[in-house]
């Protein structure tokens, strides 16, 4: 199972890098989404996989009984998913605004902040 997950992470990263090499910002964003999912899986995997019950403590006890899954990586992944979701949603909105404003999603054509003319002068 570990091997399978590791391979999945590898494939996700490979796809992400391929997408992120594109000049199209939307594709870059898709790559970023894949990459952040790969990172989440990585955290999950590095917490070791255990076939256990949910880490919930029964009433009246102070520790869970039996084999339970490691809760910490899951909490970390959940936090990372939440944050990643917020950031990616923001980025999507930003790309959309940029497209409306600059009329392009090609990063090579985005030269408003660093105009070619200003550098060619001198």
């Amino acid at each position: 199972m570990e091997l399978l997950l590791a391979l999945t992470i590898g494939i996700l990263v490979a796809c992400a890098v391929y997408l992120m090499l594109d000049r199209n910002v939307i594709r870059f964003l898709f790559g970023l989404i894949l990459l952040s999912n790969a990172a989440n899986l990585l955290i999950f995997l590095s917490g070791r996989l255990t076939a256990g019950a949910p880490p919930l403590i029964d009433e009246g006890l102070y520790a869970p009984t039996g084999v339970v899954a490691n809760a910490l990586p899951q909490a970390l992944v959940l936090t990372a998913i939440v944050i990643g979701f917020g950031l990616l949603a923001f980025t999507l909105a930003l790309v959309y605004r940029t497209y409306r404003s600059l009329g392009t999603v090609n990063s090579d054509e985005m030269r408003v902040a660093e105009p070619v003319a200003q550098e060619a002068r001198r």
């Binding site: 990172a39 989440n40 990585l42 955290i43 990586p73 930003l94 404003s101 408003v112 902040a113 200003q118």
Partner: protein, 499 residues
């Protein structure tokens, strides 16, 4: 004790909530000012406690370390929080005159306060994952500030800033995941002990390099800095100034923290890489600055070159090197924010930041010209200003290790810094305005003039004080460097046991 550490995070957060509620009301901006003053007081109180005890720590929610989230303040963390509050106060006052009501209505002050809360959180946390969370809060509020208003330049710069920073974030997250997998803990003090028991040291070095790349992007190290000069000159000046002062320095701080506390197992390898990255960062940054023709873009490239100096101090990994790094960190935040403020005033009265389109500032605004010279000379390293001592300590540290080349490069970079400062002087201050305009400070209404000049004068005064009386500051940096190199105090305070 515990509240001293929570206050610098809680105060700006609550101020943000209030400022957002009153964003349609002039009261909102005064809430923001009051909140920042309170933050400054809280951080000074915390500083006093740190000076007395060395390192202080607090366990959140009463969960003992290493299981809960710990807030820690040592000398470095405490001074960074104080300097954050000072820069924040300067920025808030400056923004009273610069930020139009339209942006205030969009929640400018709330975003600024959240940014400060996140920066303080990053400086105070003792948990690696919590550091990640603060980095994210910082990122999302900085995204908001950067594109607030949504002009074409801002959106263009924003895209580059956001995308590259997100990549670094994911790199950081993966590093955390792997480090947890190898050690089973994320508390930094606990990690300090845990990494020594890791069998596969090669894996640890790989993780260390992942952190180097992740923080390298945040700190704008060569060759990961391209987002910075693409975006820092686009937002309002108040935003540029606090970004220039604080954000990259959070990356540098994180790097100093992790590479002294956690990844000091293979200094010969990791810090060697860092050394050459630092040298290249200095050189490329200053060359970029020399090639630019815009006030703020020159300053943006200078940030990169100065980051090189700080990382150089860390890479040398000697007590003196770290003294230099800490001193440089503090000095640079003050000076760089101040230069951006000056650029903002120049834009306001002369009409642009493009050096070809402004001029006459020396003839018509001599006070501004004088106030430009103080941080500019300090940045270049002229005695007796703060930059001189920062550079002096670093060059001495390099010479002590007989790294002639590195020392030579850092001196040459200083020279090129003067060149580009002269370029600003020779275009914006010395010649007459190309359109025959008379850029006078007196044309700005009194209230706004006060808000614009007060932060500049205050920060310039601070630069002079550090420069003229460097002794206590150097001593402080020495203690701080000693704490960084010998983590016993830090680990004992956090974990509550002798390691």
């Amino acid at each position: 004790m515990s509240w001293l550490l929570v206050n610098p995070i809680l105060i700006p957060l609550l101020t943000a909530v209030l400022a957002y509620m009153f964003r349609f009301n002039p009261a909102g901006r005064w809430i923001s000012v009051a909140g920042t003053v309170a933050l400054l007081l809280a951080s000074v109180l915390m500083m006093a406690e740190v000076l007395e005890h060395g390192v202080i720590a607090a366990q959140m929610s009463n969960w003992q370390a290493p299981f809960g989230i710990t807030l820690v303040a040592d000398y470095l963390g405490a001074v960074m929080v104080v300097i954050t509050a000072i820069t924040g106060l300067a920025t808030v006052i400056y923004s009273l005159a610069e930020i139009p009501e339209r942006l205030e209505r969009l929640g400018f002050h709330a975003l600024l306060q959240v940014l400060m809360a996140a920066v303080c959180g990053a400086f105070l946390t003792g948990d690696l994952f919590n550091l990640y969370v603060w980095f994210e809060v910082m990122l999302i509020s900085s995204f908001g500030l950067l594109v607030l208003g949504g002009s074409k330049e801002q959106l263009d710069g924003g895209i580059k800033y956001v995308t590259l920073n997100l990549v670094s974030t994911i790199m950081f997250l993966s590093g955390i995941g792997l480090l947890y997998g190898v050690t089973g803990t994320l508390n930094m003090a606990d990690l300090h002990l845990a990494v020594r028991e890791v069998e596969n040291q090669g894996l640890l070095t790989t993780i260390a390099v992942m952190f180097l790349v992740a923080f390298g992007v945040k700190a704008a190290l060569f060759p990961l800095f391209f987002w910075l000069p693409a975006s820092y000159h686009t937002p309002p000046v108040a935003v540029s100034a606090i970004f220039a002062g604080l954000l990259t320095k959070v990356g540098v701080y994180a790097m100093i923290r992790t590479f002294t506390l956690i990844f000091d197992h293979d200094v010969g390898y990791t810090h060697q890489i860092m050394l050459w990255l630092a040298v290249l960062t200095m050189v490329t940054g200053v060359l970029g600055a020399a090639a630019m023709n815009d006030f703020r873009r020159i300053l943006s490239f200078h940030i990169i070159s100065q980051i090189g100096y700080m990382i150089l101090g860390l890479a040398l990994f000697t007590p003196l090197g770290l003294v230099g790094a800490v001193f440089y960190l503090v000095h640079h935040i003050i000076v760089k924010a101040n230069l951006f403020f000056v650029a903002g005033v120049a834009k306001r009265i002369a009409g642009s930041t493009d050096l070809a389109r402004i001029g006459g500032l020396y003839a018509h605004a001599p006070l501004l010209a004088f106030l430009f010279l103080i941080p500019a000379f300090s940045l270049a390293g002229f005695p007796p200003l703060s930059g001189f001592w920062a550079k002096y300590v670093l060059v001495k540290a390099a010479l002590d290790l007989q790294m002639w080349f590195v020392a030579g490069v850092s001196l040459a970079v200083g020279l090129l810094t003067i060149y580009s400062m002269t370029k600003i002087w020779g275009a914006a201050f010395w010649p007459a305005h190309p359109e025959g305009k008379r850029p006078r400070l007196g044309d700005v209404p009194v209230g706004e003039r006060l808000a614009l000049m007060l932060p500049i004068i205050g920060l310039a005064l601070l630069t002079c004080i550090i420069g003229l009386f460097p002794e206590p500051f150097v001593q402080f940096a020495e203690t701080s460097a000693a704490q960084l190199l010998d983590s016993t105090d830090y680990v004992t305070t956090v974990l509550g046991v002798q390691p």
